[in-house]
């Protein structure tokens, strides 16, 4: 009986995973490290991570406002939740920093924790990295070629962002295609050593389009396509009504093909059926962007130094600039360095964890959409919490270290205490 259950369970799991592969397998994700720019607002590039950060801020602000709007001495409902959350944070901090310091540090540390935690967990929501605006890679590649042509400049490196998914036109905003979309990447083999002229790039692009969108087979990519290959590619593109069409350019505009001479001037590419595009997600986990983690790390650094200076005055700087001897001076320099290295470690610990988690989920969703990725989601919930806690607690610990009195001052206090006992002794008979 038990064997039947086990076998049934295994079959159900395998069936479920297989079903996921059939219905939900998306295109291979394009992993891009910098946050994608959604729109421009003056000098500010509004990236998807920035939009997510604003969403997290709005949620925090609205929810806390509603939850603490009518505070009562006898708490009910949401007030209970917020009070226990704040009390938990205060309690944890008091264990480390003591009661007096906690009141000073609390707002900043708690904001670190809440902002990072909510951002990390929001990054696991299903519409993150899934819904976005379409970026037309097919047109993008042609524009790059056209720009190089008008600048009379050869390609010495590959075109950036030259890979995408073959997908239907979604009209600007769309979902990452759940099934059937295949990937295609345009490569020219350009490098500093072997530059590729815009004309040759166009030829290669035409062959690439024919190979990608029709049954046409080229003769390899090692050298520039021959005239026959190019003619075959053009014929294949022309034969299929859904394949991309090359638009003729006029004299002052467009790119001339090398293999076919001046005869073929291409002024644009049109995609009547499927097109080569990417979905640029509107939302992406906030701290998968280095800008945001560096910003937090800088704030953490600035606050620690500020608290240190406020607590100890200029004496705080004596920790770094101590010329009473060679070794103290050296230690001071090390302290100073470590102070700045913290910015980097803060920034890249958070970025690395969150970005890696995001990539892991994206890749696993692509490889095995169902079940296995759920485990990773659970893990990422944990990682998101841990990273928020680590960032907040490390800042707190550094802050406590900064406001503590320095060793030398402690010795001074001991000396004073000694004098006091002496004078007290002299009062006696």
């Amino acid at each position: 009986m038990r064997k039947v259950y086990i076998a049934g369970g295994v079959i159900a799991v395998l069936g479920w995973v297989a079903l996921g592969l059939i219905v939900a397998r998306g295109p291979q994700p394009e992993i891009i490290v910098p946050a994608e720019i959604i729109t421009k607002l003056g000098p500010l590039n509004v990236s998807n991570t920035l939009i997510s950060a604003w969403a997290a801020m709005i949620i925090l602000a609205v929810v806390t406002f509603l939850g603490t709007r009518a505070m009562k001495l006898i708490p009910r409902g949401a007030q209970n939740f917020f009070e226990s959350a704040v009390e938990f944070l205060v309690g944890q901090m008091e264990d480390i920093a003591g009661q007096r310091n906690t009141r000073i540090f609390f707002p900043v540390i708690a904001t670190f924790f809440l902002f990072i935690l909510l951002s990390n967990w929001m990054g696991l929501l299903p519409f993150f990295n899934a819904i976005g605006k379409t970026e037309d890679i097919g047109h993008h590649i042609f524009h790059e070629i056209e720009e190089h042509e008008s600048d009379h400049k050869d390609f010495t490196e590959e075109i950036g962002h030259a890979s995408g998914w073959l997908m239907n036109n979604t009209g600007g905003i769309g979902l990452v295609p759940p099934r059937g979309a295949s990937n295609a990447e345009f490569e020219m083999g350009a490098s500093e050593a072997s530059p590729v002229s815009p004309a040759e790039a166009l030829d290669r692009y035409v062959v690439f389009l024919a190979e990608t969108f029709t049954d046409f087979e080229g003769n390899g990519h090692d050298e520039a396509p021959s005239a026959e290959t190019l003619a075959g590619a053009r014929a294949a593109l022309a034969a299929d009504p859904d394949a991309p069409r090359l638009l003729a350019g006029d004299g002052g505009h467009g790119v001339a093909s090398a293999a076919l001479g001046e005869e073929l001037v291409v002024g644009g590419v049109e995609f009547p059926g499927k097109k080569l595009a990417l979905i640029i997600p509107l939302f992406r986990s906030v701290y998968s962007d280095v800008n945001n983690t560096i910003a937090l790390a800088l704030i953490s650094f600035a606050m620690v130094e500020f608290w240190g200076l406020r607590a100890l005055g200029l004496g705080y700087l004596r920790k770094f600039f101590n010329f009473s001897g060679v070794i103290p001076a050296f230690v001071g320099i090390l302290e100073l360095l470590s102070e700045f290295i913290r910015i980097i470690s803060f920034a890249f610990r958070l970025f690395g964890n969150i970005f890696a988690g995001e990539v892991l989920i994206l890749m696993l969703t692509f490889l095995l959409p169902f079940l296995i990725v759920d485990i990773i989601y659970g893990l990422e919930l944990f990682v998101g919490f841990i990273q928020a806690a680590v960032f907040a607690l490390l800042t707190l610990v550094f802050a406590v270290m900064a406001v503590e009195h320095h060793d030398e001052e402690d010795e001074g206090h001991e000396g004073e205490a000694g004098h006091e006992t002496e004078s007290r002794g002299s009062v006696g008979p």
Binding site: V90, T111, N292
Partner: protein, 170 residues
């Protein structure tokens, strides 16, 4: 360095934007979360401390009152005992007095009876003597048939009597 910055997508405006975001969020949360909640927690802590203090005070007061009542009870009991002791003393004295009175009364009554008896006896003796004297006189008259004056007679009788046992006794 510049290439690394581009590859990671580091750009100053977004960095500044994120710093600004954090500051804004900090100010908002200070207003919507930290201040009201911490104030409420402090207020509640103060209230509870106050309540506990009041309870402590009440308990102290109660035990105080208990002690006072106990003291009053003890005092009352002492007073009661004293009263009872006094009463017993008085009762004993009264009893003593009553017994002494009774003794005295009895003594007096006995004395009186004795006196009365004495008186009665004296009277009886006197009567008896008078009668005996008369009888004797009569008897002597008869015996001697000699008239003697009364005075001589009486003297003789008296002498006789004095010599007799009756006279000695009185």
């Amino acid at each position: 360095m510049g290439e690394a910055f581009t590859a990671l997508g580091i750009n100053l405006p977004q960095l500044i934007a994120q710093v600004a975001n954090f500051v804004v969020l900090l100010l908002i949360l200070r207003f919507t979360l930290y201040k009201p909640v911490l104030r409420m927690l402090d207020a509640r802590r103060a209230r509870i401390a106050e309540g506990l203090g009041a309870a402590e005070e009440a308990r102290a007061e109660a035990s105080d009152a208990q002690a006072r009542i106990q003291a009053q009870l003890d005092e009352a009991r002492g007073q009661g005992q004293e009263i009872v002791a006094n009463a017993q003393q008085v009762a004993a004295r009264l009893q003593e007095e009553a017994r002494a009175q009774a003794e005295r009364d009895r003594e007096a009554a006995a004395d009186r009876s004795r006196q009365e008896i004495q008186l009665e006896r004296d009277r009886a003796i006197a009567d008896l003597r008078a009668e005996f004297a008369e009888i004797t006189v009569t008897a002597a008259e008869r015996v001697i048939r000699q008239s003697l004056d009364g005075e001589a007679h009486q003297r003789i009788i008296e002498e006789t009597l004095a010599e007799s046992e009756l006279g000695e006794r009185s």
